[in-house]
């Protein structure tokens, strides 16, 4: 009996200890998260350009937080207590939000290879130069600026735009400083060559083509116009009465034209006519005229 009582007490205490451990772990996690958030917000915008930025500054805290989360979750009893326990599922949610923040900044990229260090060197180089040559930054530091800009562009292309936020931020500010504040990015608009080539390559051929088409067509149609004048009677009436009427109604013409016409008419008259065409032709003439 006493034994059993002891056992129960022991059980209760271990249970208490266990839950106390879980509680403890949870508090640790909360603490780490707090630190991480504090660090993030504190480094949101660097006060001085040389300050540490988000990824470098908070990396330690991020790994602390990740490890305490892992410890909490690997402990089966604890994970049972805190995972899927209620609607809010707070531990999981907050951790995810913070992790998402880190991932969206591509902070992992900062610690891959030595890109970060090279970039930092280049940057220090440039900013040193800018400090030294007050007033003549554009000419003196141009090479350094181009080096860092190109390095960044390369990196950007290699990583498909997934560049560590620290570098992005530094680069952004440098570019703004360079082009907006120092006005060193002078792109001169030199358009004379372009405009001349437009005139030669585009405007000229288009004008030439359409005017040529216009002239050629006009000339071709002028010939047909001649035919038109010469032979308005050709498709006309088959009976001689109508022909005479038609001839009378036409204005006087040069003899050559007249000759050609009478020739045609006589030819036409020579053709024996079937009477079916006679009732259509005047009509057709009216239409086609």
């Amino acid at each position: 009996m006493r034994n059993i009582f002891l056992l129960i007490i022991l059980y209760c205490t271990t249970l208490a200890a266990k839950s106390k451990t879980c509680d403890h772990l949870l508090r640790e996690l909360a603490n780490d998260q707090q630190n991480f958030v504090y660090c993030n917000t504190a480094h949101a915008v660097p006060a001085h350009p040389q300050d540490e930025r988000l990824c470098i500054a908070c990396n330690q805290r991020y790994s602390n937080m990740a490890s305490s989360y892992d410890t909490l979750m690997t402990n089966e009893n604890c994970s049972k207590i805190y995972m899927d326990s209620d609607r809010m599922n707070i531990v999981f949610t907050t951790q995810n939000v913070l992790k998402g923040l880190w991932n969206r900044a591509y902070c992992e990229e900062c610690f891959k290879g030595n890109n970060s260090d090279i970039f930092q060197d280049l940057y220090l180089n440039l900013s040193g130069c800018l400090e030294e040559n007050k007033g003549s930054e554009c000419s003196s530091c141009l090479l350094k600026y181009i080096t860092i800009n190109d390095f960044y562009k390369d990196l950007d292309q290699k990583n498909n735009g997934k560049v560590c936020f620290d570098m992005q931020d530094v680069m952004n500010r440098t570019r703004v400083l360079w082009s907006k504040d120092l006005k060193c990015c002078q792109r001169e608009v030199k358009m004379t060559a372009f405009l001349t080539s437009v005139a030669i390559v585009a405007v000229l051929p288009i004008l030439l083509f359409y005017s040529a088409a216009f002239v050629l067509t006009k000339r071709r149609e002028a010939n047909h116009g001649l035919l038109n004048e010469q032979e308005p009677e050709l498709d006309a009436p088959s009976s001689s009465d109508i022909i005479t009427a038609a001839i009378l109604s036409t204005p006087p013409e040069p003899p050559a034209v007249l000759d050609a016409k009478t020739d045609k008419i006589s030819k036409l008259l020579a053709i024996p006519d079937s009477d079916f065409s006679s009732d259509d032709e005047p009509f057709a003439n009216a239409k086609t005229k």
Partner: protein
């Protein structure tokens, strides 16, 4: 004007001579200038008349020797009258007026090329024998199974072709614009670096001119039918007009290469129309199981070798093409429904839908694999992308959408008439083949120049990274910024539409978009009608999306508090309105837009409002662009309704007569002569003929020209019956489909001149017959619904009184 009179007073033709002489006198007394004006307009009518009544006029000639009846052109005679004049007289008459001069050489030829399809199945004795045999077969389902297989194959092959075209275009454009971007980047004169911006301009010109020249050259010199979008041609085909060479394999090849080169060349056009055409060709090719071009007969699918089956398959192919082009299976099916609804039956709808769905599914698989997606989520080639948040609208926006619709209708109508004008100009002033290629190249140059000038002179810089830009060009912008104008131009038009739909607010300046809209509106107008294979859908949608977005931006500029103004939404409505205004398609267009953007059902209503308003406003001014193209090409399309001029007439007043008929048992010599002298396609078979007066005989059937030629070629005469009876079946006639031999390939009948032909076995014993007193709207409905080619008109004693064909319903 005169036609109408002629039609009404048709019977009085002979007596009204004096009247006509007066009308003849009238234009004569006019001053020359105005007379010329008249001549050019009326002449084009007359030419059309020639085209469509060519056979009417021939109707007469072979009969002169046989037929004592006075020739009496009846009421369809007004056209035939002019026709007989122009055809019988010297060729010089064809080139009398100025417009006619340009048309004379080619138009005359092409117009007479149009024939109807023999959609009506010829159920002659041979056909019935085959049907009975099939019934006795244990596997009578076989033909249906094969038909299903063909439809599935059509879907798959169409999608594969569409994928190929799409992938090639995408890859080549990617290369082109990547190169141009780097060229611009290197040649910006920044910080004393050498380089001149004229250089990228020249590169751009090169990359546009070379592909466009290749494409235009191929289209012009190899296969002119492939010019344009292809939808008007397919539409005519589905309406029952045999457009020559439209469904050949060569056409497909030229079309595919043509569309790739033109889109890569950067012309303002899309690949959707050509894909629909491609689907139609694939369908016609697969279903026949043979290729005449490659002289290869696979000896399969022999049962489908006639116009009826082929057209049904083409319907499925066109649907599969739409479905592949837009990723819109239902839209594809409805496109077929809209364009050819009169000849539909339920089975065909179902098969067409299956073909469409298979097509879009195949496309999904292939393109998903190509783009490295593991689920089949890559939908459609014309992928407008899904809107990331549900589109909502407020009730007070509906009038706004309606206004957008009105704008779309006005702009569309203006676009159509401007395009018609441009094409009229082209037809008259640039009739040479070299000129056509040059013009395509020049339009490409113009496009590049305008785009380049816009990019260089409009200063619209946006910060990088806010919206997805494929090729961000910095140009004169600060570091970390890109040029928004270049972003619009440095991609295919399709990608630009997508960008306009989905870019976040504030991606462009108002000026940029306004100039872009203007430039693209006129550029697309100049492009459509060039001798290149390009569709009109994408540029139209692009212009619409641009001005839709512009409207939203303008309103937002005026009322910065109007938060409902989602620019993507207005771009969509603008695109719908512009498409409705230009194309005037209703059912399929709305469904296609719904399917390609995947919008919510609740947003269908605003879309429909914009579409229908645009269509109504546009219809007030002119026809849709496809119908305009069809009309300009003088394709004898049957509209939905009989023309208003025909209301209240009876068959007697529109029929053509006398009819060239053939006796049930007639001499081979007569048949040979008739075939040689006239180019009719169907001849009524008559019996109870008194003497030689065949055109008053009693109707017992109809026989087609192709059948008669086969009879003569194979010597299927009564006298040698025992030799051919056993092996003659319906297949004998199907083998020569679709390129029937002409009568000139039949050897003269020297020895067999006295042989006779018994048509009772070959003729179609159940032609559609109408009475002379039947009303025209009624018979029009029968004609259109059954897809007829010939309609016999009989009198009360079942004697032939005339014949009605497609051209008798076309009023010009």
């Amino acid at each position: 004007m005169d036609d109408e009179k002629q039609l009404v007073y048709g019977e009085d033709d002979l007596s009204s001579d004096e009247d006509e002489i007066k009308t003849l006198g009238a234009p004569k007394s006019l001053p020359y200038a105005t007379a010329k004006e008249q001549s050019s307009t009326s002449r084009s009518q007359a030419i059309f008349g020639t085209g469509i009544t060519q056979t009417n006029n021939n109707d007469v000639s072979p009969l002169l020797s046989i037929e004592p009846e006075p020739v009496y052109e009846g009421s369809s005679g007004s056209n035939a009258g002019t026709a007989s004049i122009t055809a019988n007289s010297e060729p010089i008459f064809h080139v009398r007026s100025r417009t006619a001069a340009a048309l004379a050489g080619t138009a005359q030829q092409t117009q007479t090329q149009y024939e109807s399809l023999d959609y009506d199945v010829c159920e002659n004795a041979l056909f019935q024998a085959e049907q009975r045999k099939r019934l006795r077969d244990r596997f009578s389902l076989r033909i249906h199974v094969i038909r299903w297989i063909i439809f599935i194959l059509i879907g798959i092959v169409t999608a594969l072709i569409a994928c190929t075209i799409d992938i090639v275009i995408e890859e080549l454009s990617e290369l082109k614009y990547k190169f141009l971007k780097s060229s611009v980047d290197h040649n910006v004169p920044v910080n004393e670096s050498t380089g001149d911006l004229a250089l990228p301009f020249f590169w751009w010109l090169l990359f546009s001119v070379v592909p466009v020249a290749i494409g235009a050259g191929m289209v012009t010199y190899i296969e002119p039918i492939t010019a344009g979008s292809g939808i008007p041609q397919v539409k005519s085909y589905l309406n029952g007009v045999k457009v020559p060479r439209i469904v050949r394999i060569k056409t497909l090849a030229v079309k595919a290469v043509g569309v790739i080169t033109s889109v890569v060349g950067g012309l303002a056009g899309g690949k959707e129309g050509p894909m629909i055409h491609a689907g139609a060709v694939v369908a016609a090719g697969i279903s026949q199981g043979k290729s005449t071009t490659f002289v290869k007969d696979f000896r399969i699918f022999k049962a489908f070798r006639d116009d009826h089956e082929k057209r049904d398959f083409v319907l499925g192919g066109a649907a599969a093409g739409v479905s592949a082009a837009f990723g819109a299976p239902i839209g594809g099916m409805l496109f077929s429904l809209e364009e050819a609804a009169s000849f539909w039956n339920q089975n065909l709808i179902w098969r067409t839908l299956i073909a469409s769905i298979i097509s879009s599914f195949t496309l999904n698989i292939v393109l998903s694999a190509y783009h490295g997606l593991h689920d089949f989520t890559f939908t459609g080639l014309f992928n407008l992308g899904k809107f990331d948040q549900p589109l909502t609208f407020e009730y007070f926006e509906l009038p706004l959408f309606m206004l957008l619709g009105v704008t779309g209708g006005l702009l569309g109508a203006a676009w159509n008439s401007l395009n018609t004008l441009i094409n009229k100009f082209r037809k008259r002033y640039v009739p040479w083949k070299v000129g056509k290629v040059c013009e395509a190249v020049l339009v490409a140059i113009m496009g590049v120049t305008l785009a380049c000038t816009m990019i260089y002179f409009i200063d619209d810089c946006r910060p990088l990274g806010n919206d997805p830009t494929i090729h961000p060009v910095q140009l004169f912008c600060e570091d970390n910024e890109y040029n928004a104008v270049a972003a619009l131009w440095f991609q295919t038009p399709e990608a630009t539409v997508r960008a306009l739909f989905h870019d976040p607010p504030g991606s462009h300046k108002i000026l940029t978009l306004a100039v872009f809209t203007l430039v693209y509106y006129f550029l697309s107008c100049a492009t459509f009608g060039l001798n290149v294979s390009l569709g009109v859908f994408i540029p139209t949608a692009l212009v619409g999306a641009a001005w839709g977005r512009l409207v939203a931006m303008l309103i937002f500029y005026l009322f910065p508090n109007a938060l409902f103004l989602h620019p993507g939404k207005y771009a969509l409505i603008g695109a719908a309105a512009n498409l409705g205004g230009v194309l005037r398609m209703t059912i399929s267009l709305s469904v296609i837009l719904m399917e390609t953007t995947g919008i919510e059902t609740s947003f269908f209503f605003p879309l429909i409002i914009a579409l229908i308003t645009a269509k109504w406003v546009g219809d007030y001014f002119n026809d849709g662009i496809y119908d305009t193209v069809i009309e300009v090409n003088n394709v004898p399309m049957l509209s939905w309704e009989p023309l208003p001029q025909y209301k209240g007439l009876t068959a007697k007043e529109i029929l053509s007569k006398p009819v060239v008929s053939i006796k049930l048992v007639d001499s081979a010599h007569y048949i040979y002569e008739v075939l040689q002298k006239c180019n009719h396609n169907g001849f009524p078979v008559v019996d109870d003929v008194v003497g030689d007066r065949r055109s008053e005989g009693r109707v017992c059937g109809i026989i087609l020209r192709s059948q008669l030629i086969v009879i003569l070629l194979k010597s299927l005469y009564v006298e040698n019956k025992r030799f051919w009876i056993p092996e003659t079946s319906i297949q004998t006639f199907r083998d020569v489909y679709p390129r029937y031999p002409s009568i000139s390939s039949v050897r003269p009948l020297d020895r067999k001149i006295n042989y006779t032909v018994d048509l009772s076995m070959f003729m179609n014993p159940s032609p559609v017959r109408v009475n002379t007193h039947d009303s025209v709207p009624k018979i029009f409905n029968i004609f259109r619904a059954l897809g007829l080619r010939h309609m016999l008109v009989i009198n009360n004693e079942n004697r032939i009184a005339g014949i009605i064909t497609r051209r008798d319903f076309i009023y010009k």
